[in-house]
């Protein structure tokens, strides 16, 4: 399973979002495997700040040269911040998916949901299965 970067300081959803928690705020983006599969990202559509989102809800869109994919909220809560520079710099999703390419921050309403997400080893298995 090749060269994808995985970070062990965060957890993952099966749909390839990552969430990194500080206090009750979770920063969300998509994994290196996801950005690689999408290939060149040309556009992102972000949620509204203040929106209340449910775990599993489609809240953002990431568009590559060939496809538009939903980004799902990995956790429930309120959107408290979005990466406002990202729509002007969509290539950051490819270049730095775990850093500058973050999408939004959620103030968690149910922090227990974080523990239900996949840890890095479990997520690696998901990617390995998808890769076949």
């Amino acid at each position: 399973m090749s060269d994808y970067v995985f970070m062990d300081d965060r957890r993952y959803a099966r749909s390839h979002e990552w969430a990194k928690v500080e206090g009750d705020i979770a920063t969300v983006g998509i994994s290196d495997y996801a950005q690689h599969s999408l290939s060149d990202v040309v556009y992102v559509e972000l949620p509204e700040v203040g929106a209340t989102v449910e775990k599993g809800e489609a809240v953002a869109v990431v568009e590559s040269v060939k496809a538009a994919e939903d980004v799902y909220a990995p956790l429930s809560g309120e959107i408290v911040e979005v990466n406002e520079e990202l729509p002007d710099n969509p290539e950051w999703v490819n270049e730095d998916p775990y850093g500058k390419g973050w999408f939004f921050k959620i103030k968690m309403s149910n922090p227990a949901e974080y523990d239900e997400l996949l840890d890095v080893e479990a997520y690696k298995k998901v990617v390995a299965e998808e890769e076949g």
Partner: protein, 364 residues
Amino acid sequence: MNKTRLYEKHVAMGGRMIEFAGWLLPVQYPTGPIAEHHAVRTAAGLFDIDHMGQFMVHGPDALPFLQRVMTWDIATLEPDDAHYSLMCYDDGTVVDDVFVYRRDGDYMVVVNAANRKKDLRWMVQQAKGFDVQVTDVSDETYMLALQGPKAEEILQRVTDVDLSQVKRFSAVAARVGGILTLIGRTGYTGEDGFELFFSADEAEHMWDLLLETGKEDGLLPCGLAARDSLRFEACFPLYGHEIHAEIDPISARLGYFVRTEKGPFLGRNALLKIRLEGPKQKLVGLEMLDRGVPREGYPVLIGGEERGHVTTGMKSPTLNKFLALAYVPTEYSKIGTEVEVLIHGKPKKAVVVKTPFYVPVYRR
């Protein structure tokens, strides 16, 4: 599923293989489709387009037969010329769009992969009463495209003909690295460049030779995604998208290639009528005013109602704008008309703009 003779090479180079018109082809290489696109605009790109079909049209009636099935006036082709044309059904809708190469007494017709079998059936059927043979030579003929401002310089290093003497839309028989090749100064990118026809047994040899020769010039192997974004910027139609069996070339704004004055041909009466009455819808270029990526099939709204649809749309790598080709009712096809495109359920503002988005270099 068909594999080209370069399949193993594409995989070894990290090409992402997808199905296209019954063929497994690379949609991109590890450099990514945007880098590949820019390589063709600024240096050069090499495309495996062996999925394209080639038919030889041979016999005393080759010209009258082609005049019957083609909308272009094939009689205007000089001995080494190549020209774009459409083939239409009686009702004026499109069988396929093709390139016709005149070669000595014969003609070669290059057709879309998806239409190869259909086109052959159609042409053989229409050949009744003509002393002509239509032969599908696609399996033994390989086709590569070398495109971009550096294409001539690269190809010149490995061929024995003076390419500066080969004008746009003509072809010459030559040796490329010793391989007998028909070099056409044609392409589907809006750049200068060449399409090469040669024996399928030489595919790997030719591919390696050109990649190696162009390396120092920034030549990249390119996949289907770059091929699509390049042709889109130049507003070249793609069969199954801008044109198909339910649309006529006048509506698709390809009327230039419909030479009704040349005499009878298939679809002429229907096309004359459409020309006289004016098409009900037209293909236009749209530029997004609101942000969003317009994509094929998305509705075009006028006054909040669905009145058209996007045929191809994307973020243009060269122009860095969100652009689309779309069908709209003729009365809304004027440049400057504001419409909306429904993107992910939300209406987003767009405006009708001039096409092509990117004027091919050889037309400037």
